[in-house]
Symmetry: D2
Subunit: 380 residues, 4 copies
């Protein structure tokens, strides 16, 4: 019999759905000791919470997250609220002894994140941050190829996350759907929202970043604010590009924007090593491009690996070779790994401490954009 692991979800937006979906599906495909149970959904609006509970099968509803934390029947708290609320909830949840899964970015900045790290470590509760892209099978495979030494010495790392959904100046900021444009709720723009993903993946694949040099831009300077109803200055960065030097000597460029026509969610990275190179692109997420210079010269070329075979990461759990899975499956994988970690007493990554590193890079990026200088990333 599977052990029930009762989930209390806070927030019911896009991520609330993605995580709920993952909890509901994981046991159909993965052999685990635990079974997540959708115990309670928490949202300020009782109506919306109720509707969400009906849709997803949550057993109960809360409208105050502090109440949720008091409940004995909740084992795990999942924080899917805007960035500026992560810290307060997480600190309380740690105190309450709950396992904590927190949406990314972990916090508004490094110091805030550090408090969260210290809280969960002090409480000794399992914790994890939803940097889900590590567990797209092609990305996991890329990591394995790097760890196996296939690339040799790394010379270059490039990552981009390009979108185009905020080009219209008519788009307002703030409120439920658009809090990502509101600096008070989001902390930053593309840097915390999109580059955070790129940095998490990059640190995992290529080690520490020593220093960065960034520029940011806000193309649309003011937008109507949904909460005040007034036109207000836009405080977030619409675009951010930075140069970086990794500790291993490799050079990097990172870029993100929401003003790149034609790209809905083009998260892409490329890594060039002494022997081999790797490319990946979220728009065709099941493909890994791999070039190995050690291939015989006449037939050397970029290989388009359709990461759908049974021996590819996670894929043996799903369908048959050639058949794709999608975006949402990365969350299922993350839940599976988290539950396996819980069963074995070994933290699934990225835990809060690991995600804190990303926060330090984000801070350095934003500081550099401001100072217009190379900025060192402190060691976490």
């Amino acid at each position: 019999m599977l052990k029930p692991l009762n989930v209390g979800m806070i927030g019911y937006g896009f991520m609330g759905r993605a995580h709920s979906n993952a909890y509901r599906r994981v046991n159909n495909f993965f052999d685990l000791e635990h079974q997540p149970v959708l115990k309670a959904i928490c949202a300020r609006s009782a109506d919306k919470a109720k509707a969400f509970a009906d849709k997803w099968g949550y057993e109960s509803v809360e409208t105050d997250w502090r109440r949720l934390l008091e409940r004995k029947d909740i084992h795990l708290v999942d924080i899917c609220t805007p960035n500026n609320t992560h810290a307060e909830i997480a600190l309380a949840a740690a105190k309450a002894g709950k396992m904590i899964l927190c949406e990314k970015p972990l916090a508004l900045n490094g110091p805030e994140a550090l408090k969260m790290v210290e809280a969960v470590e002090k409480a000794g509760v399992p914790n994890m941050v939803w940097y889900n892209y590590r567990r797209v099978p092609a990305v996991t495979l890329a990591k394995k190829l790097i760890d196996d030494g296939r690339l040799g010495r790394i010379f270059h790392y490039r990552a981009k996350f390009l979108q185009d959904w905020t080009i219209s100046p008519e788009l307002p900021q703030g409120g439920t759907a658009l809090w990502r444009l509101d600096v008070a709720a989001a902390g930053s723009g593309v840097t915390g929202d999109l580059l955070a993903h790129c940095i998490d993946t990059a640190l995992w694949q290529n080690g520490a970043i020593d220093k960065v040099n960034a520029m940011t831009e806000t193309f649309v300077k003011e937008r109507k604010h949904n909460l005040t109803g007034k036109v207000e200055p836009v405080g977030i960065d619409d675009a951010c590009a930075f140069l970086a030097r990794f500790h291993n000597g490799s050079l990097a460029t990172f870029e993100s924007t929401r003003y790149a026509r034609g790209h809905k969610a083009l998260y892409t990275f490329e890594i060039n090593g002494e022997h081999a190179s790797i490319c990946w692109d979220l728009h065709d997420l099941h493909r890994l491009q791999y070039f190995d210079h050690r291939d015989q010269g006449l037939t050397r070329g970029w290989r388009s690996v359709h990461v759908s075979d049974g021996d590819h990461p996670y894929m043996g759990k799903w369908w048959v070779p050639g058949l794709q899975i999608g975006y949402e499956h990365s969350f299922v994988h993350q839940v599976a790994d988290f539950l396996e970690g819980v069963a074995k007493g070994k933290a699934a990554q990225p835990d809060f401490r690991n995600a804190y590193q990303t926060q330090l890079v984000l801070d350095a990026v934003l500081a550099s954009a401001k100072s217009q200088r190379w900025t060192e990333v402190p060691k976490g």
Copy 2:
């Protein structure tokens, strides 16, 4: 409150999983009147049925499908067994007044299929065949573009379904996992297994086929049989290619094989019309290639449409633009449409009668391969 619709599933293989997954997920994403309930799983082995029930949450287990049909609490029977058992089960299920969803191909041949059509029509029960690829969003979009007249007069239709998993002569035939290689269980090889999909899509998109001219081949002439333990002749077609003429005057080529190195499940079609052309490929299923000659000359080109926007078929129900769904979602869409049909009293397609047309084309293809002549497809 959603009305429960109790499912009795027969078979627990690859398709048993794909369908169970669809029933479990559909209400999380689609607004429907009914909610499928996983009431009973039926398989000859009680152990295997039990394990499957635990994995997927079926409430009960049956080991005799006739018992399942007798149960009053079962509203819908889903037939996921090998092809040679479809007819017998379906005829009985119709008699028992159950709704019936049947895996493709509907039957071993046209006459058998016709009996099934007549049975469900006589019984007046909702029925459908799992030609799931119609509901990959890019394929549904292709159909819409054709129906909207974007292509104009159609000149050419091409479809292929290429795999490479049976090249090794060491692979045995027969038994649970490999019944598709056993002519007694499968009826035919790639023709019924893979070309059936191509034909279903083609008839739906491009109308009736008048005549066909086929060749088939069995590359590996004998294989060990898992049921007898002896090396036995292989009765299925390993490969099949055919020419066809559609009733609308367009010319077609169809091909399928399990001997095409490098292709796991390359189902692809291309349609060339007077004004525009369309291409699709299951290996990158969320992309539709579209060429419109009416585009201004300088910038005319094949458009790679990432079918992931909110106004693309079905996509508004899932995540956000740019994020992919996968193979399994086509089944969720089919269940959603079926349930909507049940609610509205309008049959979702392809129902048995519609799928019967595909059966007639399959028969003509196999007959042509035998006679080595052009063979007319009778009107169903």
Copy 3:
């Protein structure tokens, strides 16, 4: 010092340009014993011949090809006239002891081609047919990989040549630019014009074809004729598709049309072998797609080989790795190989006899389309 080899060109159309260009360029890039000299251009219109001579540097002009053949200073005759004139000119040129390069298809049909073969063999003159695509570096590389046994036993061969330039019914037939639509001048439509290329490549790569089964269609039944000024029936095939069985046991599909929107000159082939597969496409002619199943599983994928390295066929003669050459270079390569053959006394391929095989397949295809039956290809 290079030995001059004096060229007399008959015809000044598209192919007259392509060949002239090849003669002018070959010695800049290839080390050869001979140097083609553009001695005379022959065309019925003196004005047009003169203009062409000025453009390309021909030293003299003729308006009667019989006069050209009488000239002692002409070593080589290049036949670039419509298909229905090839035989007469070639027979006379052979009699006159000239080397002969003839545009494809060699003749209107097999018997005519056979006379040409016998004539050049009797005369003992070097001869070659301009099936230029064999010498696109990626295609030559494909041949090498096959000959090296990389693919193992061949299961499937597929070739297509798709265009879209005759969809408009307003396009007339006949005359200088449009003789390819006039059956009297061209002999057939896409079969002789486009499938001839596919068949030449296929026979070269995959050996003899035993039998074929074809269908043809003429979508636009009548067009204005440029020579008569009247609307006349269209005698050519607008589209042709055929099934084939190769002598080595592999199955094939071939297709060509001028009614495929979005394709200007999509000549593509794919070969599936036991161990490896190959794909190529004229629209991106420098790329060869190669899949090798013997690659390690995790990183197995289609390799996009950019055939531009110094050790790729012919490429060491041109620029540096990564830089492309184009369509016209295949003709330069063919001249280089022809001249090397002349120097070594070894016939460059395809010579007339070799091209005669293609003619026999073309005849069988057209006969099959007429009889609607499988038709055997006689051994040449």
Copy 4:
């Protein structure tokens, strides 16, 4: 009759071949008033000059470029020597009243380039720098689309030029073939060699760059020097990446390296505008990727424009739609435009003054890499 324009070429390396090829071919395809005549090739080694002359049809040989400049029969001097010799030759050639075509980069730095600009302007001689990529048809088309306002306000510009040919530490520096690794001859590494191309194209397409922020790296610190025979420090930059801000408000990233496995000559740019985006890649140089947000939503996608139609820039001069040209044709186009400029008395671009702007950006990039600060680009 065409007017002869006598060319004196200095240097016989890779670029000597590319330019000679262009002079020889231009009149076969373009209608011009002038015809380049290959009058003299100049190289220090008489033997090598003679061999080159034989290969390409130069009428005479010089071993001292000052002698070449003295010759009255030379109208145009083409400078294809290492970068550190451009200025001296160009100044003398201007004084001698010759037209001057100079390989890129124009000079070792801005001040040197300025002297060259002043010299040719004072002498009033036609002049041009071989930034050939502007005249790849797809790149020219991109420029046209921008100028036509298709993109609207530009938000982002990205360019990369990636190669992988210097990864081996065994590769020496200096001498005939490898002077690009020798800082004395080349001035810089990838910055002057590769980024110069990117910058030239970018300034042309997107206007002036206001400031840059760069990092460079030399991965292999010392290499054997071919001229001294000793292992010596490597003075060039192996890789360079920089951030930039254009005067029009758009943000840019530029990167070049010779350490990117899998890329032979991947020059690529992407431009994101308010309405549309454009991508191009030298490895598939005849394709332009174009996304137009104004396309109807359902069929919106990146268009892969095969830039081979008769109305595409320059393409009407070559073959027929669908057939590619290659790298070398960009030089033919540049000669054609230069000659047309000479005939019309209008300078073809980039002339020396225009190329001087690129030099100023290069200087700022190298200065920024050194100072590790944002560096303004002076107005030229």
